[in-house]
Structure formats: C-alpha cells, structure tokens
C-alpha cells in the first residue's frame, strides 16, 4: 500500500462547479412559477386579475376604480389580520384566536366608549391587551411546548367568553370622534375615495413588508419556518422570535378589532365568528406555505383581495346567496393547498 499522503494534491485539477447553463426565457418563466417562493404568489396575482376581468366583462359598472378601492375599504380589518397571521404561519404555526380577539376588541371598544372613555385611551388599551394575550399564547407555545393549534384554540375560547362577560347584547358606538373617524372619506380625486382604515391597513402592510424582508427578526421568522433546529444551531434568536410572532398576531388582531368597530360602529359578542379561517385562507391563497418558511405579506394582501373580489362578484350577480363566497373560497383553498404540495414535493 502506498501512502495517500504523498500523492500529488488533486485540487489543482478540480474545476470550480460550473455555473448553470443560461436558461431559455420560457425555462426561466417556468422556474419562477415553480419556485416555492414566488410561484404561488404569481398564480394568485394572475387569478386576481382574471377574476377581476371576468367580473368586468359580465357586469356593468364593475370596472370602476371605486369597486377596486372598495375591496380595501371593506376588507381593511382582514388585511391587518392576514398580516399578523402571515407572521405566525411563516414560522410554521397557526393562530386560531384572531377572530375571537377581533370580537372582544370591538366589545371593549364599544363598552368603554359608551361609558365615556376617550378613543385616545381606548384604542391603545385594546392594542396593549391583545398584544399581551398574544404574549401569553407565545409563552405557552414556547415554554410549555403546547401545540400552536391548542394554545390559540384556548385563547380563542377565552376571548370569545370574555365578549359575553362584557355584554350579551350588541353595543352601538356613538362616541363623536370615533364616528367621525368612521365616516371620514379621504378623496383621491376623480370621485374616488378611501377610508382612514385603509390608510392604517396599508401602513401596517408596509411596516410588515419591511420587518419581514429586511430585519433580522423578520429573517429569523423565515428561518423558524425553514428549520427550527437549523436556526438554533446557527445561533439565531429562535425562542424570542417564536414568542414575538404571536405578540405581532395579537397586536394585529387588536388593531383589526378597532378597524372592524369603525366599520360596523358597534360591538357584538358574536361578531367575526370564523374570521380566523378567512385570514388563514387569505394567507394560504396568497402563497404562504402552511408548513412555514415561504411566503410574502403582499401575497396575503392579494389573498384578501381575491376573497374580496369573489364576494363583490356574488353581490353583483344578485341571485346567488352570499354563502357561495364560502364555496368558492373552499374550492380555491383546496386548489392552492394541492399546488403547494406539488411545489414542495418537487423539491424533495
């Protein structure tokens, strides 16, 4: 046997790995569509445009700027909810409590405003309380290793129950500042207008895009969804991040509750039942993988818009019951989840 040590080093003859051959434009387009990062989002974007075009072709008056803007006006609270939910789902978790937290937020807002509190106190108070609830949920998940499904289910029942502790009946909101805020329209010229809620929702979206895309916290959120174990071994602040995403979701739920009470000008214990599932649907249709790790906030916004435009079409149709929205959403969800499975399966 000869020594393996005195053989000439073979490294000189080794070429660096060849770069991939340039792809044809079609191949490149296919790559973009089949990437788990961008594929589902693009499909959603195309879907939105397609549905919007179908609506425009079928119904008179559908193709107006205000119809488009109303998608934001009517769904601003859902956009905020979907943003919070995106953080959670990106880590591979789920938050079932958001609908109930919206309800309890409307109840707190309505009852405190009714007893004469100032909105300047009530709104921050709601945001602090719901963030705190999110913190408790996050700690439960992190410290006691409770499944997110179970922990947030508990929070959901807790929040829903608290609604009835506050009042069994609907409370309307008459507080002047609040009402003024609710009826204000911000003109955009050309007869178009939006509400302050839309502005708030869009600000939330912009902040979320920045946080998720360009901060260490945001990238750690993605890391958690990619592989929690790897994240720990890479020395990332995994534990902290895991707790904070539920605080973010709690905060967003509270804010969504405030926007919802602006939208309805009332608090009602049975409101927003099942909204958590709308938010999850929007996030999934928006291209975020339920397993975590892949997805964008803007995708979730698109998801909300898709839900909104389906609802609008059904309203324009006039003859269909509003439950058809659910049926369409159900079908869409199915398609998107299968799409995700196909895309992730290709990678393994």
């Amino acid at each position: 046997m000869t020594s393996t040590l005195d053989r000439p080093s073979s490294s000189a003859s080794i070429e660096p790995p060849k770069p991939l051959p340039p792809r044809s434009p079609i191949g490149r387009v296919r790559d973009i569509f089949t990437s788990p990062r961008s594929g589902p989002v693009l499909v959603t974007a195309l879907l939105f445009v397609a549905v919007f075009l179908i609506g425009g072709a079928r119904y008179r008056g559908f193709f107006s700027g205000q119809v488009f803007l109303n998608l934001f006006v009517d769904n601003s609270y859902l956009i905020v909810l979907a943003v919070g939910m995106t953080f959670v789902i990106l880590t591979g978790g789920i938050d079932l409590s958001v609908g109930a937290v919206v309800a309890v937020s409307t109840m707190i807002a309505a009852s405190l405003l009714q007893s004469g509190w100032s909105p300047g106190v009530v709104i921050p108070l709601i945001l602090v309380l719901t963030s705190f609830l999110g913190l408790l949920v996050g700690l439960m998940i992190h410290v006691f290793k409770v499944q997110p499904f179970i922990a947030t289910l508990a929070a959901m029942f807790l929040a829903r129950g608290l609604c009835y502790v506050i009042s069994k009946d609907s409370i309307s909101i008459n507080e002047p500042t609040f009402v003024a805020l609710a009826v204000t329209r911000i003109p955009l010229g050309g007869g178009l207008s939006i509400t302050p809620s839309v502005v708030i929702a869009l600000v939330v979206v912009v902040i979320a895009v920045w946080v998720l895309g360009f901060t260490r916290f945001g990238r750690t959120v993605y890391a958690l969804g990619g592989s929690e174990q790897s994240g720990i071994l890479m020395g990332l602040p995994v534990a902290r991040t895991k707790v904070i995403v539920y605080v973010v979701s709690g905060f967003c739920s509270g804010l969504a509750g405030v926007l919802f009470s602006l939208y309805t000008l009332s608090g009602y214990p049975l409101t927003a039942v099942g909204t958590e599932l709308d938010a999850i649907a929007a996030v999934v249709i928006g291209g975020t993988l339920l397993a975590g790790g892949y997805g964008f906030v803007l995708g979730s916004v698109l998801g909300v818009l898709v839900l909104g435009v389906i609802q609008t079409i059904i309203t324009f149709e006039g003859t269909l019951s509003s439950w058809w929205t659910r049926i369409f959403i159900g079908g869409l969800l199915l398609v998107f989840i299968i799409l995700q499975k196909v895309l992730t399966a290709r990678r393994r």
Partner: protein
Amino acid sequence: MTDTREVREHFPADGATPVVEMTGISILFPGVKALDDVSFRLFPGEVHSLMGENGAGKSTLIKALTGVYPIDSGTIVVDGQPVSFTGPAAAQAAGISTVYQEVNLLPNLSVAENILLGREPRRFGGIDGRAMRRRAAELLEGLNLDIDPGSLLGSHSLAIQQLVAIARAINVDSKVLILDEPTSSLDADEVAELFRVIRSLRDSGVAILFVSHFLDQIYEITNRLTVLRNGRLVGEYLTTELLRIDLVQKMIGKELTTLDEIGERAHADAVTADRPADYARAEGLGRKGAIEPFDLVIGEGEVIGLAGLLGSGRTELARILGGIDRADSGQLDIAGARTRLRSPRQAISRRIAYSSENRRSEGIIDDLTVRENIVLALQADRGWFRPIPKKRREELAQSYIQTLNIRPANPDALVRNLSGGNQQKVLLARWLAIAPRLLILDEPTRGIDIGAKAEIQKLVYTLAENGMSVVFISAELEEVLRLSHRVVVLRDRRLVADLENDGLTVDALLALIADGSVDDEAPLAPLGESS
C-alpha cells in the same frame, strides 16, 4: 510504509499550546454514560479526526464542545480560558464553528442569508441586503465557489450547500472548525474541492476537527487521530504513525469474553456441506449514495456475516435486501423469481424480515405490551381486517417467550420496561412469527448483556440449521466469524470481499476492513468513492 515528511511540517512543534483542551469529560444520559472521563486536545493548524464506531461518543464529544450538551464533569479550556458554553451561540462567539453532518442551514433563504444571518451588515436598523450579498460573494470566492449569493439555498446541490455551511463557519473568525461527516454526501470531485478548502484553512492556522467514516479520507487529510470506544478514550495518535489495521482494531476493540457454547460447529458445517440451494441472488444491486452495486448470493440455511465499519455500507446493503430502501440499479431474485422490493411490506410478503439496528426508533414500540409487539408484523401481514384470534395471539406470545427465554415472562408487560436484551428478543420474536425464509439482523447484539448475546447467537445458529437464511451484521468480528458460513466485507460503501468462513481470522478480516483490497496493485480508490 508511510511518508511522514509532509505531515511533520504541519504538526505543531513541541511546546505549542492547544487551542482546545478538554479534560476528564463525562456526560450522563438517562441510564447511559455517553462519555466517561474523555480527554481531547486540538492544536492550531492541524486537522484532527475523532474516530470510533456507533455509540463511541464522537457526536456527544462534539456536542459537548459546541455547547449543545452540558457536561457533567470535566473542564473545557479554549485559548487558555476555562469555558462553560450555554449553547451553540456561545461556542460560536468563542470561535468554535461547526458544520454538521446533515446540512443544518435554511433551504428557504438565500445563500447570502445562510452565510451571514445572525451577523448581517445593517443599515437604517434593517439588514443591508446589498452589503450582505457583497460580503457573501467575497467569502464564496475565497472558496472558489461561483454561485449567486441571492439564489435560494435549496436550489443548490448538497455539496454546494455543504460549502456554503463552511463559508458560514469561516465568516466568524473561527479558531476551531468542526466538520462532522462533511463528505458523506459528496462525490470524489466535491471531496477534493472540500479538501482544498480544508488545507488552505489549516495553513492559515485554523484547528480543524474532521469526522468521517472514510478511512482513505482520514489518511489523506488528517494529522492526528483521537480514538474513542464505548464512551471512553482509547488514545491519541499521529496519523502517520498509526497503521490502518491498528486503527481499525482500536476502534472495534476485541471482544474479551469468549462464548464457547456454540463452539466451532458453525464453520465446520460450512466447509463440509455442499453449496446450498440459492435462496436470494442479487446482481449489481445498488443504490446511489448508499451502496455501490454489489453481487451477493444467499443460500438456504446459510448465515452471511456482514463485516465493516460503521458507514461502510453494511446497513445500507441490509436495508436494500429487506425492502426498506429501494435499489436503483440491479436485480434481485428471491427463490428463483425476479423480485422488485418496493417496501418492507412487500419484503414481508416474500418472507424477508429486516430487524433494524435502531431497536428503539425502528423496532420495538415502547408503549405496547410484549404480546402486542410480537404479533405486530404477523398481523400487518394478514391485513388489519383479519384480526388474529385472541387465543392464537396468546399462544404465539407464550411460545416465543418460552423459546427465546424473554424475561419477565409476562406477555402483558410493557416493552419499555424490559432490558435491552429482552427487547431485542421481543423484536426477534416479532420477525420469527411471520416465519421468514430470510432474516436480516442488523446489530442484534449491540448494547445487550453477554448472556442475552449468547442466546441470540445460539438462536441464529439453530434457525439456520432449520433452513432459514440469515444475514447477520455485527461490529464484533469474533461474533461474525463464530456464526457465519460466509463473510462479506464492506468498506467505503462497497462490497470488497465475499469469503468462505474457512480458517478466516479476526486479523485477516481487520486487514480487509482497513485496506479493502488484498491486491497491492489495485489503485486506491480516491477518497473512498469510485467515480
């Protein structure tokens, strides 16, 4: 025999201070002493390998050094400072970086993020994406790696991901770089690329701890070796001064207790008996990345011993025969009929049983009773809609408990409460219950007491006498020799010898395991992979 000059140049001069010095390290796991008073040192500018078989404590020692496991006793000194790491982040801060066996990076993030996340350049309170990609590109260039730092990590091959992991590790000013099985999924060119990087890092004064199962690679790249066995330190050696055969012997150790009960009968039979009828015949059977194509004939009533180090492909071969992993090349004939095994279920229906080396995770089910564990495979084979009658289950359990002498002799005992040896017997009973024609036993005697070991050996012998074919894997060569009619030797994922057990000695086997080839003229397979 070996030219030592080149190594000498890199070896620390006398009086050099180690960058890492671990002394008297012990780590206790529930019921097991994973490390027992182990010492280990690492000098700057050397490549040092930790060697040992399954359960030797290599990973545990690495995890102690990287702060993943707390140590129960002993001291760790890094750069002259006693340290006590609270986690991987703390070890990293002290200059100890690790690249783990499975690439522990994030496939869903970009290459640049995978390299720099946690230490990313910042601007305006956020991550400065452009600066991050620039920095990543520099590091990749240093490794001669031409990939787009903005691309998704998951879109690259495992080899590139491995190099990205190293880029991450060297970005911090690492004094110590730990590479845990970095070559297990790389081909020869990729290994050469990796070694080029390792050499240049070593020359820049980094201490490198390199763990690999490939002996060729160990002898090509390392300066020193530390050998562990069963959680204990065997010794520290200069690579050039330790012959391969001695290394293998130190890793495997000698089984001191002899088990005379079976005596020499096994191989006496093998020599006198005519060649038995073939039961299974594999031609060119192989699986990419697991084991090179091999030919193997298993006769009826024959015991084939598989010898080789951990990672030599012995388990991989067995898993293909047992239908656990699918072969991607070659053919398998079972009892004369061409067969493609796609799942363990199919293997079972052809009366082939594979008993895994991972008794706890792939074998027994802790929370079921002895009886339930025994009838499991038989029930699965019958289909769940045809339950085995209660009476039959009782009989089966009773008879196996008696035949195999399972203690406690209580069919209703939970398997989790049994000793390792008795758990192994329950597992054996499960496979015997399906009346296999070919029984594949992967390390059935590991970690069990000597009495149970003898019983299992005797059982294997009896089964073979009754016409059952057995493939027997064990790290203990004496045991393999004692039981087998034929011994198949594996090395670096290749079947290197198939021998009648006729006057074979442990030393001869050791030589085969160490060098793989008795033929001096055969070129050494570069880096343990054929290209």
